[in-house]
Symmetry: C2
Subunit: 356 residues, 2 copies
Amino acid sequence: MARLGLIEEAVVLAEGKFSVFGAKTASCILRYAAESVVAVLDSTNAGRTAQDVIGFGGAIPIVSSVKESLQYKPKQLVIGIAPIGGGLPPEYRRIVVEAIKEGLDIVSGLHYILSDDEELYYLAQEHSVKLLDVRRPPDSLTVSSDEARFLPVFRVLTVGSDCSVGKMVVSYEIARFLRSRGINAQFCATGQTGIMLSGWGIAVDRVISDFVAGAAEALVKAVFDADIALVEGQGTVYHPAYSGVTLSLLHGSCPNVMILCHHLGRTHIKSYDVPIPPLKKIIHDYEYLSSFTHPSKVIGIGLNTVDSDEETAKTACKQIASELKLPVTDCIRFGPEPLANAVLEEYKRWKSLWKR
Amino acid sequence: MARLGLIEEAVVLAEGKFSVFGAKTASCILRYAAESVVAVLDSTNAGRTAQDVIGFGGAIPIVSSVKESLQYKPKQLVIGIAPIGGGLPPEYRRIVVEAIKEGLDIVSGLHYILSDDEELYYLAQEHSVKLLDVRRPPDSLTVSSDEARFLPVFRVLTVGSDCSVGKMVVSYEIARFLRSRGINAQFCATGQTGIMLSGWGIAVDRVISDFVAGAAEALVKAVFDADIALVEGQGTVYHPAYSGVTLSLLHGSCPNVMILCHHLGRTHIKSYDVPIPPLKKIIHDYEYLSSFTHPSKVIGIGLNTVDSDEETAKTACKQIASELKLPVTDCIRFGPEPLANAVLEEYKRWKSLWKR
């Protein structure tokens, strides 16, 4: 799927922040589209390789400037970090300007829309380069018509106990695994990184509130003829700021089944004083909220164990699986197979009942 | 409160649609700010009075054109109807252009932002008139910081069984009633009509999804020094398209108490094939969803009985009140006093516990 994405002969910008967590977009691109990356730009790690710093990405070199990257013949600069607020700080602007002048296309997931910036717009025209703002929502969006539930594609939504727990990774990994088994499984991106990787999608956090469910509906409609749609979830219903986005995705995409994603050991909503409930209650709540418009159930848990050692991670997966009677895996560490198989089983059952 | 609003010596545009339901904004302005209206523009009802057509608004004349309205010395044209899609159809544009040329300011709640329209913008400059787009969200919005729950203002949110059941009216009526009793009660508008009436607020349906809870928080922060904030709710958690907006308002405003609004006799979400649950379940659900971030309870029911005769309306209020053990009233028909008293009682209890 990565080969259909937007990333091509790219320098990935992660200045001062290249790490698995500090640069979520950059590290996901290295994980899933390394073959499309020629260099990483981070002067604080220059001279090392991606593998040295984040543990994957192989021999991809880390360079200190756009100029230094030119020896690797890049076509693009991909902004792989998000500054707080989503703006374009002066130090990024300087790098973007330099890249445009060197003839590189710019791929950006910033809230700040580069092609709305007059200076950058005209500079890009002058140098015949493209500014790809993946966060700009399509103009065609409208309210949901509650039609997703009638589509002949089986819909799987990732839901979470919090933000940044691995919903994109779980959806992407399951889709990739199912495709490797010959199933027409389509990843439906709802955030910037997913859009860069798959080449399409809608960054729903930029969509006006009335249209978010409509955006989710549009995504699954776009793959109505696939077997399975893996919709990337966002946020959590417990989040004081983003709960509405989560509920809009749930009601707009009308999932047949859900995968619950959780970061092992996290007890509170990131940056907020709101406790995360036990997994059993979370499962109940998502199923209950689904029932408002379309019944759905949680059929597995994607457990992010990045902070734990191998033994702890294995024990946690086993223990949660036995407690909840559901398949549990860390898709990165142990692979997505248990979740992909659960999806496939439910898909087959649904398919056998589906009257076209 | 209406005197602090945006409406002043206004011609209210309701061409072809002047009725209580066909022109919600126009009829609310006639109901709450009639003293600021000089004429209604609807050629299909020209020659009659507001009272003749909608049953209130007294002798305010209905005219057939901007030109005809000039005899009443208007200062503004207020767009009192919303075409499907929220755009500016040619027939409205013609009227707006004529009004600008006659020197009238334009007050618009359309999704289509008039001041972003080059022709209208320059025409308005040429004729020194203002274009007031009440639906344009402020640039300063950001994500919620979950601080509303710590504010020293008592927060009341209207929630609903559906859209268009009377949430704005109930919030507005309670605020007005409490003010008449010397309480500093502030109406916090979240939709175009409320903003026109009160002169401030945020049309949350235009806000990008990540910032809706933040917008609700900003509204209650703006009145932190009042006694009571009456926050206008939007949509319903059962709505396939708008449920996320509703949840964002709930979690962003952190209401101490809620008033549930319902349209007597409505069985399904308007325009959708989704049944409305029994009131008892609706109350449970809003209280349950509140508990995710901040506990709250429903303390009364605003029943919209506009389609029923007096006797049916009275019986329904009594019956629901006895079933749910909560005060029930139709604020328009029977006045808001039962709900206002319930709010006041809860406010006093809360105040006595509040440690500043």
